[in-house]
């Protein structure tokens, strides 16, 4: 039998919606699994790479140092790296905090707004989470392609199961993913 391609996936600053969309392939997931096998992925719960991969899928952009770390590991360990979904490509919802860029201390302002000043927050101690186990936040949200080279970007929030199926089948058979207009038109 032909050697299967190895696939790794990660969710960075995303909502896991893109991973849910992978499951939306439904029974075609079985067909995909005839061509690929999973390596590091939340779907498998492997926390590290077991071996070099052919394909990496990234959901979400980078909002903290851990995201950068994981993304760089993916770049180092995957031949083809694909950013899926709006968050990975453009920053998505998390990137809205970059709008506070004109403040002197934008990150502080963002945290104050989120934990203290927002009208419906009850936080009597004015406590902003700062456990040493929490990764440090970046000064702003970066898209994947601002941090590492990305080979393909698949738009959508999330890209549909159909779209992801086509991406995986194309890459698994060594082709460039291509779509009809309707598949990447979101109105």
């Amino acid at each position: 039998m032909k050697k299967k391609k190895r696939l790794a996936t990660a969710s960075l600053a995303g909502c896991f919606g893109c991973h849910m969309s992978l499951l939306d392939m439904d029974e075609r997931l079985l067909e995909v699994l005839e061509h690929v096998e999973f390596d590091r992925s939340p779907l498998m719960d492997f926390k590290g790479f077991r071996q070099r991969c052919d394909i990496g899928l990234i959901e979400g952009g980078c909002c903290n140092e851990d995201n950068v770390h994981v993304l760089r590991q993916f770049r180092e360990n995957c031949d083809v790296l694909v950013a899926i979904g709006q968050c990975a490509i453009m920053g998505g919802l998390p990137v809205m905090r970059n709008a506070i860029m004109h403040a002197d201390d934008p990150l502080r302002e963002c945290l104050e707004e989120a934990y203290n000043e927002s009208p419906r927050v009850l936080n009597p101690g004015n406590h902003i989470p700062n456990d040493p186990a929490l990764p440090l936040l970046l000064d702003k949200v970066y898209t994947c392609s601002e941090v590492v080279h990305i080979d393909f970007q698949i738009p959508g929030c999330p890209p549909s199961g159909d779209t992801l199926y086509q991406v995986l089948m194309a890459l698994a058979t060594g082709k460039k993913p291509e779509f009809s207009y309707g598949m990447i038109k979101y109105d």
Binding site: P106, L107, R108, L136, L138, S145, V148, H149
Partner: protein, 612 residues
């Protein structure tokens, strides 16, 4: 708002008959008197004109010269075009800071002076320049600027060293600026003495058909950039059966590096009005509008006087040249600082008192334009050509230039050359020839046609200036070998970012992304993939934008990528294990380290929990 402010608003609205279509004029009067158009003024104007407040706000905030906060009694607008920046701009900025203690965007405590920056004011041949209220000044030095400020502080008037002794009509009592015309070469348009100013007289004896036929035979194409055949546009309007039609002269001249229309309006205003009147005769229009960019408002009194004179001589008004049914008059519409208003459909909206946003075509303005009437918009120089064609004849005109580009063209030459100014040549001369004429000894790059044109290098200097090869509306900016090409590109893209009307996302957002990527490359953090990105994004912007601004805004990048590839290549970094050189994790973490009072477990090698 105190009472006097609201009086000003009432007076302004009454003066223009509470007509919402004259909103620009109303806003100007309020801005002039109150030195701002504030929130209360917006409400009052809305009430008086019957417009929704949000529409008034939309218009007021669209234009550069209306301000929501008060400007100084002397509102200084320093021209920050790239040519000015290379010729003394910084020295002037330092003087302003020193004498007034303020930076751009600020106003002095006594409210006397405010300082702002503004794109090209049409003085690239005599930089650096600035505007103060309705005054304009070029060829400034730090000493001259100090004197100007002192004059203003003392007498509320720029002294005689700024208002007297201008070249040609600039010295006219109605203009009174010390500007130079710098006309370096004259031809059929600028005249060499023996022309007779008889175009209108000749045309008034012709029918519309005959006028259109003459224009067709002359091969005249528009001088504002696109080069559309003039007779065709007029013919389309002529064929419309409507109660009235409109002829508009586009004197918005916003393309950085262009100033020949300023010189034409100074020296040849009658020729412009004559051309407009002939165009009106051709289409059957009775309404004419000269859309004058706000930067040239110092010419208004002069132009109004010429119009009044023409009315008195029977060259405007009813029965022009004694011809029954030949009625036409012209009003001046002052713009308010928006490059996009040079685009004809935006210009028409602006004349109607709206935001200067281009409209989708069809309908073409020649079918449905100003107030729904068939409207032809042409450039100042185009109208001069029309007038001359009826003076020297279509055949003589067509003999000049090249087969597809007949006649002569005015070039606005500026930058690093010893003889900047206006050059009139028949179409078809080479870039090198013009460089020789203007004595540019060390030209390394030339911007042909302004930011929306092409930036060419030495290998292209034998190309011809005409529609067949290098089409241009006339801007010709020379840069010598000491200039930084990418800085020029950056300035131009910034210009488009500032001037995009914002309607189409690819133009509004795309140009910002182009700028960001240029900055990355200029900072030495770019890679080859960034060049691919620039090209792809440029294609998208060109393909998907609605008007000419978006269709041309990526050109500074595209033309320099083609003509100066080594400049880019020298700055690009080699790829680094898939990481983007532009991303600096240490810098990205600094703020969080500081806020969290701890280091990074991942990126601080000697991590030990807290840091100071």
């Amino acid at each position: 708002m105190d009472n006097t402010d609201s009086v000003a608003v009432k007076e302004a609205c009454a003066r223009f008959d509470f007509d919402p279509k004259r909103l620009l004029d109303i806003l100007w009067q309020v801005q002039d008197v109150n030195r701002c158009v504030d929130a209360n003024a917006l409400t009052d104007i809305a009430q008086a004109t019957g417009l929704p407040r949000v529409s008034v706000d939309g218009v007021a905030s669209f234009y550069h010269f209306y301000s929501s906060r008060p400007k100084g009694r002397f509102a200084i607008y320093l021209c920050d075009d790239i040519v000015d920046r290379q010729h003394g701009f910084n020295d002037l900025l330092a003087v302003l800071r020193d004498e007034l203690g303020i930076a751009p965007g600020q106003i002095t405590a006594d409210g006397l002076f405010s300082v702002d920056l503004t794109p090209c004011i049409g003085l690239c041949d005599q930089p650096p320049g600035l505007l103060v209220n309705q005054y304009i000044a070029g060829s400034l030095t730090p000493a001259k600027l100090r004197r100007l400020l002192q004059d203003l502080k003392k007498d509320s008037h720029p002294g005689s060293s700024f208002t007297q002794g201008g070249e040609g009509q600039n010295g006219n009592s109605l203009i009174q600026t010390r500007l130079k015309n710098n006309i370096r070469r004259r031809g059929a348009i600028l005249g060499s003495g023996q022309l007779t100013e008889s175009g209108l007289q000749n045309a008034s004896e012709l029918s519309s058909f005959e006028i259109l036929e003459t224009l067709r035979a002359s091969g005249l194409r528009g001088r504002g950039g696109a080069g559309y055949p003039v007779w065709q546009k007029l013919d389309t309007a002529f064929r419309q059966i409507t109660a009235d039609k409109v002829v508009i002269c586009n004197a918005d001249e916003g393309e950085p590096g262009t100033f020949k229309d300023r010189v034409l309006l100074t020296e040849q205003p009658d020729l412009v009005f004559e051309g407009m009147t002939i165009a009106a005769r051709a289409t059957g229009a009775s309404q004419g509008i000269l859309y004058l960019r706000a930067e040239y408002r110092y010419l208004e009194a002069w132009l109004e006087e010429r119009l009044a004179q023409r009315r008195a001589e029977g060259l405007l008004g009813s029965h022009i040249c004694g011809t029954e049914g030949f009625n036409f008059d012209i009003r001046i519409q002052r713009g308010a600082g928006a490059y996009i208003c040079g685009e004809e459909s935006a210009l028409i909206r602006s004349c109607e008192g709206g935001r200067g946003e281009p409209t989708s075509r069809p309908p073409y303005p020649a079918i449905q334009g100003y107030k729904g009437l068939p409207t032809t918009v042409n450039n100042v120089e185009t109208f001069c050509c029309i007038a001359r064609i009826f003076e020297i004849g279509a055949t003589a005109f067509a003999r000049l230039g090249t087969p597809q580009s007949t006649g002569t063209k005015l070039f606005s030459v500026s930058g690093d050359c010893r003889k900047p100014g206006v050059y009139e040549f028949p179409f078809g001369l080479t870039v090198r020839e013009l460089l020789n004429h203007c004595q540019a000894d060390d030209a390394a790059a030339v911007v042909v046609g302004g930011p929306s044109g092409q930036i060419i290098g030495r290998n292209e200097f034998d190309r011809r200036l005409c529609f067949e090869d290098l089409a241009t509306a006339g801007a010709f900016v020379v840069f010598n070998s000491t200039r930084n090409i990418l800085e020029i590109v950056r300035a131009y893209i910034q210009f488009f970012v500032d001037e995009s009307c914002g309607y189409c996302t690819p133009c509004r957002v795309g140009n910002v992304f182009l700028l960001e990527r240029m900055d990355k490359i200029i900072a030495g953090k770019g890679e080859t993939t960034d060049i691919d990105y620039l090209r792809q994004l440029a294609d998208t912007i060109i393909e998907t934008s609605r008007c000419g601004l978006g269709h041309t805004s990526p050109r500074p990048i595209l033309s320099t990528l083609a003509n100066f590839p080594l400049v880019y290549a020298a700055l690009l970094k080699a790829p680094n294990a898939g990481s983007q050189p532009g991303f600096d994790i240490q810098k990205a973490l600094d703020e969080a380290r500081h806020l969290a009072h701890r280091g990074s477990t991942l990126y601080d090698r000697d991590y030990s929990g807290g840091v100071s």
